[in-house]
């Protein structure tokens, strides 16, 4: 297995370029179906294969909390540009993750917080992790897709 260089303090973009050159992309079978608004159809999060390779390798990606800090800065009304971008580069990178842990990290990075913070608190879950085979095989009526009430893992999860 390729050894990850000691990347703490290395710009995140440089780490991603190293990964692109040295790691094989990993196409995940996992998808995350989530509903961020009751007025909108279900959305589907698709992991990037090069990002997944970084997550499985370890020592490349920053802790997910760094993205939350930057999002807090960006949410301020007087935000013009990031002044704490160094958090991405100087915070100790996270260790190797399993594919399942990587999906959890990705949810906390790329799904709205209000979806995953209390995803299971309403009448039905707002978010489901599934395998891509569980999604409908065609995109017919795509704009009407919702998470189905029956969330058995061997069933189609959105239709």
């Amino acid at each position: 297995m390729t050894q990850t260089p000691q990347f703490k303090g290395t710009h995140l973009f440089d780490r991603l370029c190293w990964a692109k050159e040295n790691l094989e992309g990993v196409q995940s079978d996992y998808r995350v179906v989530y509903e961020s608004s009751i007025d909108e159809c279900a959305k589907i999060l698709v992991p990037d294969p090069n990002w997944m390779a970084c997550a499985l390798q370890g020592g490349i990606l920053p802790p997910v909390q760094v993205y939350w800090e930057l999002a807090k800065d960006e949410a301020k009304p007087d935000f013009k540009k990031h002044t704490r971008g160094h958090l991405l580069h100087n915070t100790k990178p996270v260790e190797a993750m399993t594919e399942e842990e990587a999906i959890e990290y990705l949810i906390m990075k790329d799904c709205p917080q209000h979806v995953w913070r209390d995803y299971d608190s309403g009448n039905k879950p707002k978010m489901v992790i599934c395998r891509k085979e569980q999604l409908p095989s065609t995109r017919e009526w795509r704009n009407a897709w919702k998470i189905t009430d029956d969330l058995a893992t061997d069933e189609t999860v959105a239709a």
């Binding site: 370029c17 990037d48 990002w51 540009k81 990031h82």
Partner: protein, 129 residues
């Protein structure tokens, strides 16, 4: 062998010279090529963490290394699925420093409708955080 060249200018023997900041500033900081039909899948990328499929012809591209501000440039295009040459667009419309929403459209006669495309391409240029 890993190495580093530190230079402010690149000079060609006959074609002239160029400052290296042209190269640094002018390089794409993130790009992605993905299939927006069926079960959406990313073919290849740089500095992309995921795509969100938000509905017919509606996608969000999420970056790993955030941009410093939202004044970056976003170049997009949608490939034709056949030789008919029907006009199609892939238009960005909402930005944060780490996520960009973009919709793909197909022009049919005088109407434009959101449409899933097999080949969607996006490239970002700007300053990273």
């Amino acid at each position: 062998m890993a190495g580093k060249i530190i230079a402010d200018t690149l000079e060609h023997s006959t074609a002239g010279s160029i400052a290296t900041n042209y190269v640094v500033e002018g390089s794409s900081k993130s790009w992605v090529n993905f299939n927006g039909t069926g079960t959406v899948a990313i073919r290849d990328s740089l500095n992309t963490s995921s795509i969100s499929d938000r509905g017919t012809g509606q996608y969000t591209v999420n970056n790993s290394a955030s941009f410093g501000n939202t004044n970056f440039a976003f170049m997009t295009t949608a490939g034709h699925d056949n030789a008919s040459g029907t006009a199609c667009n892939f238009d960005p419309w909402e930005f944060t420093t780490s996520a960009t929403k973009a919709n793909s459209f197909q022009e049919t006669g005088s109407t434009t409708v959101r449409n899933d495309r097999n080949f969607l391409y996006a490239s970002f240029m700007g300053d990273l955080a």
